[in-house]
């Protein structure tokens, strides 16, 4: 790795470690600009602007690797997480369903996936209308059953969103 920034090296190590597990012929594309910035390092201020995904599988699934500490995760719903939020919205907008993209967090840094889901829930709850509008079909279907922004906010406010299958896209590996 030519980039000496430790966060970049850590993020790339996490991604490469997981990508190794995919079978031959499973990977369709790597996002070309990922190595240029601090895209998936432990730095939510500098999520690669314009990057659409880290890895695209041959079946169309997009994967985003995040090697974040818990301290960093807790910033995603704050103003410091603006770049992360923008990228997350792009995923939501372009998704066919909640299995068509996947966030992979680093198990070596966080031990409990619910800690991550709580932070996503916080962000979604605070921006429910806007997030629902991005892709209503992603929420309003027979599997997830969230028909509008108000319902999305109510689920988040009642701490029920973290149990919804919608969060299947969040993984800890």
């Amino acid at each position: 790795m030519g980039n000496q920034n430790l966060n970049v090296q850590d993020g790339l190590t996490h991604m490469l470690d997981k990508v190794r597990n995919y079978g031959k012929g499973q990977i369709d594309q790597f996002e070309g600009r990922i190595a240029d910035g601090l895209a998936d390092a432990d730095d939510i201020l500098n999520v690669c602007d314009g990057c659409l995904f880290d890895v695209k599988l041959i079946n169309g699934t997009l994967i985003e690797f995040k090697s974040y500490s818990l301290t960093t995760i807790q910033k995603i719903s704050t103003s410091q997480g603006a770049a992360f939020q923008k990228q997350f919205k792009q995923y939501l907008q372009s998704a066919t369903d909640n299995n068509s993209f996947k966030y992979v967090f680093n198990l070596n840094k966080i031990s409990d996936v619910s800690l991550i889901k709580i932070e996503f829930q916080k962000f979604i709850g605070a921006n429910a209308d806007e997030i629902f509008r991005l892709n209503p079909g992603l929420f309003n279907n027979a599997k997830i059953k969230i028909p509008n922004g108000k319902a999305l906010k109510a689920m988040a406010d009642q701490n029920k969103l973290i149990d919804n299958v919608f969060f299947d896209f969040i993984n800890l590996e």
Binding site: G50, D129, N148, A154
Partner: protein, 343 residues
């Protein structure tokens, strides 16, 4: 040949009617545009953010807002007055002049669904038997957990149900074993309703009795090193009523399913598409009965596939705009024009 005739920015939603394109742009503006040059012919500034835009057969435009009600516009795009207090909002596609409607309880996080009759301007019925039913004439079909249920569209009473949990579970993309779920109700042909499932099954029901007419999955002749020898994708399918076939297209595969016999014919286009450096990566393609217009998201392209000759006949590459790669997410076709929504 595809030429970019016009670009309109900040479009959130769009749909097509006979001669017009209806767009929702920015926060509040709903516009009706002439389809051939996208010139505005009517604009609204008093309709709040729209969840969805649908156009039914007799050109009545139906619009939902996130506040829970919806508007019905007549052929001149004038609002029609009706009592909206009975329902919360509509949720789905318009079938047989019916809308799926619902009331959502924000405390219990539960909802009941029903049908709204567009002609009578009133709710026919509501209950908790199905979520967002789709109306097929006298029957309304929907899902409730692992149950596929068919209700009488006039009164909402249960006609038949089918438990999909009897079908085998499947391994998802990440290796987890999961019970199968309905992905999409594809549509109806000759009184048979077709739906796709997560475990790559395709089920066809007699809509009046619930009898399973076809249960399809495997395609023995289809060999691919990254996919099962089965129907390649549960989303990328539509019914061509004229041909009596399901038309399927996704990745580099084109398949036809004879709705009467259940026979599947798949064409593997891997070599052809590899040479052309294109794949279909969005399942909602447009189709004119002969040509399929499909999207590749990155790098952004439109592909045109001739279903008769089974060959790619044209491709269009989007240029970068606003210093970024365009990622097309939706395509519609009408009267020699393609309308593409970019992310």
């Amino acid at each position: 040949m595809i030429n970019n005739k016009k670009t309109i920015s900040k479009v959130n939603k769009f749909d097509l009617s006979d001669n017009n394109v209806i767009i929702h742009q920015g926060e509040l503006n709903l516009s009706v545009l002439r389809s051939y040059d996208l010139t505005p012919i009517k604009e609204y500034v008093d309709i709040p953010y729209l969840q969805d835009i649908k156009v039914n057969d007799d050109l009545t435009v139906l619009v939902s807002s996130e506040d829970g009600d919806f508007e019905i516009l007549d052929k001149n795009y004038e609002k029609i007055d009706f009592d909206k207090e009975e329902t919360s909002s509509f949720t789905g596609t318009i079938y047989s002049s019916c809308l799926s409607v619902y009331i959502y309880d924000l405390d219990k996080l539960e909802q009941i669904s029903g049908l709204f009759d567009v002609n009578d301007k009133q709710v026919r019925w509501m209950n908790d038997l199905v979520y967002s039913p789709m109306c097929f004439d006298e029957y309304a079909i929907g899902i409730n957990g692992h149950l596929i249920r068919c209700l009488d569209s006039k009164n909402g009473k249960l006609v038949w149900e089918f438990d999909i949990s009897i079908l085998k579970s499947y391994t998802d993309k990440w290796g987890s074993s999961k019970s199968c779920e309905v992905v999409k109700i594809i549509g109806e042909y000759d009184n048979i309703v077709w739906m796709s499932l997560t475990n790559q099954y395709l089920l066809a029901f007699d809509k009046s009795t619930g009898t399973v007419k076809h249960k399809l999955r495997e395609i023995e002749s289809f060999k691919c090193n990254w996919s099962l020898s089965a129907i390649p994708d549960p989303y990328g399918m539509i019914i061509n009523s004229f041909k009596g076939k399901i038309i399927g297209f996704m990745f580099e595969f084109y398949w036809e399913i004879n709705c009467s016999t259940g026979e599947i014919e798949l064409t593997d286009l891997t070599d052809q598409f590899k040479d052309a450096e294109i794949r279909c990566t969005r399942p909602d393609f447009a189709y004119d009965g002969k040509l399929i217009y499909f999207l590749q998201d990155t790098p952004g392209k439109i592909g045109v596939f001739d279903t008769d000759n089974k060959e790619l006949v044209y491709q269009y590459r989007f240029e970068e705009m606003y210093n970024r790669e365009l990622m097309p997410i939706e395509i519609k076709y009408y009267n020699n024009n393609l309308y593409v929504l970019d992310s």
